[in-house]
Amino acid sequence: MDQLLQLTVVGLVVGCVYALTATGLVVTYTTSGIFNFAHGAIGMLGAFSYWQLTVKWHWPVLLALPVVLLVLAPLFGATIERIVMRPLHGASVDVTLVITLGLLLFFLGAANYFWDQGQTRVLPELLASWKPVDIGGVVVTWGQIIIVLAAVGVAIGLRFLFSTTRIGIAMRGVVDDPDLCAMSGASPARIQQLSWAIGAGLAALAGILVAPKVGMSALQLTLLVINGYAAALFGRLKSLPRTAVGGLLLGLLVSYYPVYVAPHLPFSTTFGQLEKAVPMIFLGVLLLFLPSARLRTATTVGRVAPTVPGLRQSLAGGGVMIVLAIALASALSSANLLIAGGMFISALSLLSLVLLTGYSGQTSLCVLTFFGLGAFAMAHSGTSPLGLVWGGLLAAAAGMLVALVTARLRGLYLALATFAFAKGMDVGFFNFKLGSGQSLQLKRFELPLIDTSSEKTFFFLTVVVFVVAAIGVLAVRRGRWGRQLTALNDSPAACATLGVNTTITKVVVFTASAGIAGVAGAMFGAQQEIITPSQFDVLGSLALLLALRIGGINTITGALFGAFTIGLFPEMPQILGHFGVTLPDKVQLTFLLTGIAAISIGRDPDGLGGQVSKLGLRLRQQFGSSSTPAAPSYEEATLVHG
């Protein structure tokens, strides 16, 4: 009995933390339509600023707290809105997701710069000097009580704001139609700025309250909010009271799980070890069983529909690429060949996203999970080249399963479901099977007549696989299927009333895309000859999506650009070094560059590939009219690239 009470109290406190973070997410989502991955990072910065003021500069708490919560954080939120979010109205789900991911990385980089993460910092709990209270044998600190009070206060305050005040109603209304908002005489920019300010304030509040418990680790604080996703989803990203309840339920579940739930499950030892995956499982289950809520439909703002090269052109392009690869292979050192090969492997996995997200508009955040499954299959295939096939098939099977289970989800819900899947697989499969922090050795497959152990040959092989896949993807795009995918993306309802089985279409695309990612993973395993679970992490999948957005979401060129960009970022310090530029260690260039790149996407969602397309279009219009028929049809129109 004592234990139950104790677990309940702990669960409620944890639940309040979830509720608090989830509330911030929901506020931002309902008022801007953006699911803010960087919410935790903003909270982290809040906590660090608060630490700076109180611990470092010895400001009194009663001064520092309002300064951070009511001045710094809101200003910060308003600035984010002004610089990053304003151009994003009407952007597609994956754009908003990767941009907030970029912000997250940028803030992490900034935190590392200002607060060296090697150093340990302690943030005392609020009212730490007050005597803890004994509730039925459970000792509760005032810090914990404040968490509960804050969660309750925030819930009530926001409910009041959003349902009774005019500005609150305007904040909910503006997201659907800023123009109409202006027509009604309210400034959409002001209103959105206010909602970002409030969102940032809430993030900072949560950050300051939990930092004493979690510790002043930038990464930990940033990722903490992920567990709150389930609570936010419980409120269907809309209802604050339901979000709060979701948070509490999740807190209790997490707290009861090891004692009351896991032992009663089949395979209890396995499940007992999956404690960390509970919030993600909760999230997954919610997504599957909650009645689907009305989601904002995807829009097509600023989407160029680049035209696809014909078969002859793609074959020619592929040929050129292979010739270049031969030239490159003889010019590069082994180490550089590994890096270059790695880029093509990334490009191959980006190709799977071009098919899935670029063409058919489904946002998946688990591409690296399929990639990892491919590598895993390769690891179990010894030196047989069939490992590539098994890798592809295993990933495709997993992809089909995910697609079937998530068939009725779209947009952000689909993205979050794949997120939960990736996170669950991360904890429940890769870290579990391979062992956290462990690695798995594997052997490179062997082929008759070809010496795959030579880096040159293997690089060449990688390029060939990429080219074949790219020609295949383009062929899909060109034909009936490509149009069907676009149509499905634009209006699923219309497709259904025209006789298209939308579920099958979605499942087929998902499966094919997962298969490509699986082959990429198998190649990766063979190339690296060692894999570790952290390589298949969900944030990596997000980073890949980001890279593809930077490159250009719906072109082969985009996949290549994207892969080179992420391939180059980690090498940047070295490259700069060649030019005599050295940066201090604490500058995490990768993070900063990724962040900046992400922010730039907001200005132009078509990415580099899109730029190339537009340039090509302009050149064509100016010079090449002879090759363009007078009335170009969809397939033949505008421009060439690929």
Partner: protein, 263 residues
């Protein structure tokens, strides 16, 4: 058949036809839909005959679009059945109904915005080729339909750039590309100018003459009266009148609920 006598008429039943009649292409059998506290449709019965244009009119919020959603399977009715060509399709998903020859347009546009007008129609023709036995060339079908609905001048423009009226024609063309036996049109003329809606009226009559059963929801009364063979009037989810255009127009119940005073 003349105007229904309100005293004796059981309002929700179309006495004249039966779902098993061979000329009935679509039969909506006492369909009701409830959204929370709102009874959007109550026991509405509608019969559409092959080769005729049937009108479905009624005040705003009467349940016309909801009825369309039920017919196409996008909305599940609280009770009632839908028959397509004498076959009960109530349990079928939208795409299966479409494959049985049902096509529609949407009041709130559902075009493929990033495709061109012609590609919208081409996509539909290709869908049909994918699921039907008829393997005629989708491109030829698309070109023919583009001309038929009068979209030649904008066929290569992206549909989200078109004015509403023309986008509605794209939806109509898309529906035609699946060679439907039953075609549902939700306010096809809204957003069209006079010349365009004139042409649309002629097209609807043509389509009916080819044997298609056309069911049209429209607030342009002149158009409705001109093209429809029979009209059903919905009010608060109930069928309040069924009959030939001139009778419906003269029905006091319809005037009170929908048309307003004659001017």
């Amino acid at each position: 058949m003349s105007t229904v006598d309100l005293e004796t008429y059981v309002p929700h039943i179309d006495h004249q036809y039966d779902p098993r009649d061979p000329e009935v292409a679509l039969y909506v059998d006492e369909v009701s839909v409830r959204f929370g506290g709102v009874q959007a449709v109550s026991a509405a019965t509608i019969a559409c005959l092959a080769g005729q244009v049937t009108g479905l009119i009624g005040p705003n919020g009467a349940g016309k679009t909801t009825t369309f959603n039920v017919i196409t399977g996008l909305e599940a009715p609280t009770s009632g059945k839908v028959f397509l060509g004498n076959e009960d399709v109530s349990g079928l998903t939208p795409y299966k109904r479409a494959r049985k020859g049902l096509a529609r347009t949407f009041q709130r546009l559902e075009v493929f915005g990033t495709l061109t007008a012609r590609d919208n129609i081409l996509a539909a023709a290709e869908f049909r080729r994918g699921w039907s036995k008829d393997k005629s060339n989708p491109r030829a079908v698309a070109d023919q339909i583009v001309e038929r609905v009068g979209l030649q001048h904008v066929q290569h423009e992206r549909v989200d750039m078109l004015p509403t009226g023309l986008a509605r024609l794209v939806e109509l063309g898309r529906g035609l590309a699946t060679h439907p036996r039953v075609l549902l049109l939700d306010e096809p003329a809204s957003g069209l100018d006079m010349a365009e809606s004139e042409a649309l009226g002629d097209l609807l009559i043509d389509l009916a003459q080819e044997g298609i059963a056309v069911l049209v929801v429209e607030h342009d009364v002149d158009l409705v009266m001109r093209v429809c063979d029979r009209i059903h009037v919905l009010d608060f989810g109930r069928i309040i009148s069924v009959g030939f255009p001139k009778d419906v127009q003269a029905d006091p119940a319809v005037q009170a609920a929908y048309l307003g005073a004659e001017d």
